[in-house]
Amino acid sequence: MAGALDGYNQLVGVLHHTEYLTPDEVALLVTSLKALSGAVSCIDSGHHESLLSAIFGMSMWNYGPDVMDALVELIVKLAASSGQYADSCLDMLVSNFTPPRSFVEFLKKPRRKGQVLYHVHSVLQGIANLLPLAPLRLEDTIIHKMPNVYRKEPLIVLYVENMLRLESSAMGAVVGGMMLKAVVDMAIELDVKIEWEDILQDDPKGIFEMELEDEETVDNTQQEGDEVLICRILSPLEVKVVLKPSRVNSFTFAHMIIMAVKSDLKHERVQFGLELDWFLRIRESSRGRSFWGSEIAEKLDSLLVLMFEHLKKCNDAGRLIEVFEPLLQSFQTTVMMVYKLKFSQFIMFYACSLDPENCGMRFANTLADIFMHRASPPNRRMSAVAYLASYLSRAKFLSLSFVAEILKRLVGWYLKYCETWDGDINPTAHKVFYSGCQAIMYVLCFRMRSLMDIPRLKSLLLRMPIEAIFNHPLNPLKVCLPSIVEEFLRQAKAARLFTTVSEQTFLFNNNMVESELSRAFGGSEKLDMFFPFDPCLLKNSDGFIRPNFVYWSMARTSYDDDEEGCSNEDVEDFGGSGENIAAWSSEEHDHHFDDDELDYSLNKMSITPKNSFLNYYMFGGDLCGSALQCPLESGPP
């Protein structure tokens, strides 16, 4: 009796042996596993508990291919022999998606990863062949075992890689949709944890102070002491940043600068007292110092890149439509309704860019349908139209005629609305209407010039009863964001779109980004300032988005003279890694400034010479253009 138990214990002991296996021990392990495969029917869950737990505790990452093969065979036999082990087998396989304990050592053995994943996925397929209902169970297990967002980035990335691999596999037909939705959910979870530093207080005239770290002495001359960074943006916003030794997160800092600049860009007059040269030095020296905020951003970045690569692969394989469906559903149920998502919505953007005719148009039509659907709650409709406006403006791959079609649909809807409703300005009651009008204006700011250039679309645009809507007592021009209205009217005037509406009718004396009325219709969620497809600030993901993205600096406006339209080449030269430092040519610089209508004066721009501004790796080249011109990027959420 004791002897039999000894043999059993020895067997269990062999299975537990993981590290530094000599070839003899490896052979012993392989033989034991093979023997067990043969005796699977004799294994009893009650009596042989320690054996079973040893088997299910094994991790393929610890072993070479021989052991992996033997283990795989054993697992399949176990799963098929009796239903009671099927769940444990699936659990064990999902645990094998990621290496055990400290994974750093496994990152040194990249080949091992390929072998393990190959084995794991082939076993999963094998089990699915034998137990047809296994994929359902597997779906549950995978979702439950997803790492939470606080785990280390490589672990999360590896797990998601496995999930996406499953989606492409034969089992994808069953589990694929769920996998994609789970990945999107995780992206959303990461996204909402990234914090914009609040740059502006609620009162747009406020001044705030931020504390940043002083890494090196700054040798640029400043007005007030060495430690002050002044980003003076002409009134009413004055941003004063005081430097003190404290923690800084370069990512956060980058955001701050972007936000500060964006918030007041409509003025086209930006003065940066302290140079971004300096900012660069902060960035480089704070490397290695990563804060919670930027760690999360990196994870989101990697996750998005994984998704983009997966979508590209699906497109190459011709199955993008299959993948698009669950993504679209997920978008409508979760993504759209999350308050001010920052970057996760770019998954949809990229998917659409891969297949503009089907997916791209489908997305826009879906958004338009949601907007026009009376029974939906107002916030949902407003969110939908904000997405639509941002999408139509920013998607380079959409054909202009399609954009015109959608605009026509929207305008038709507005006209009917105007005919139904009477009465005066009432931002809260008619918020859906106002957000819709703002949407049209936003899209036309980007696209008016291009639409006017094509005669057929020009006549379509001129025939649209836009004027009637703006002249209506509901008075959208007064309620929508002043910055947008101003830009729109300026372009409309240059394009001679209207006969009765003119810029002078509206007084914008305080140059505010938001007016009280616009805030009223935006509500507590600030849906009046929601432009979801503003440039993506995540470094690696941006590389995927950039070729299909319309930056404001690239958009030609109707008041530009032909030669001075901003050339796209420089902007597009910037690689996603941000390592290309494209010098911002001074000729281009001058073009913007010589344009009187834009009311610049070169003196007011104290932006230091080329390189510093553009070394802004986060933003690539857009900042240069947008710093000067874009009135339309949103302020901080």
Partner: protein
């Protein structure tokens, strides 16, 4: 094939008020969630349903969410193999110690070595695994063969897991089988065998 039966059932489905405009959709969805799961109430795995409403009037439940109960009449196709029933399935995997069979496309069965008749020997011919009969020369079992076998034991496993606000039941029905033997009909590639039972 035994083990299949059609039952008549009177059901009540409680529908959430938000689905009041699309009641049939809600009912069908609710009934679809029963599919391929073992239900003790019906005593079997529900494979298919055919439903019609009994009454147009539904009773509203009092409570925070006023669900209303729609009464239905349904015909359900149920599958519940019991011991000593004859079932047919397709072979998906052959091994020296076992044959794995899938029944009705969702249920898996395994026949272990002891339960396979002695006349069949496991061989690997030209890379293909096959069970060859010693007594009848052309009688072979390969992957893709349809087998008829006798059920020895069936186990129903139920697991509850929560997923997105839905309670879903997962069922795995694994059948250990023993089989009856009869003369084979080579053209149909069917074989009936009898095997001795043993506990596995």
């Amino acid at each position: 094939m035994e083990g299949l039966k059609v039952s008549d059932a009177k059901l009540v489905v409680y529908v959430h008020p938000s689905k009041a405009t699309k009641v049939s959709q809600a009912i069908l969805r609710e009934l679809s969630s029963l599919l391929f799961k073992f239900s003790e109430i019906f005593d079997g795995v529900v494979l298919a349903y055919d439903v019609s409403t009994l009454s147009e009037v539904a009773k509203i439940l009092p409570g925070v969410h006023p669900y209303f109960g729609v009464r239905l009449q349904a015909k359900l196709l149920l599958f519940h193999p019991k011991t000593d029933m004859l079932l047919e399935g397709k072979v998906v995997k052959l091994g020296q110690q076992s044959i794995h069979v899938i029944v009705l496309g969702f249920s898996s069965a395994s026949i272990i070595e002891e339960d396979i008749r002695e006349e069949f020997k496991y061989k690997v011919k030209r890379g293909e695994e096959v069970f060859d009969s010693a007594s009848h020369k052309r009688h072979k079992i390969k992957v893709g063969t349809t087998l008829r076998f006798l059920v020895k034991r069936s186990s129903k496993k139920r697991k509850k897991s929560e997923e997105r606000e839905q309670m879903s039941e997962h069922n795995k029905s694994i059948i250990d089988a023993s089989t009856l033997s009869m003369n084979t009909d080579q053209s149909n590639k069917k074989s009936k065998k009898r095997r001795r039972n043993e506990d596995s």
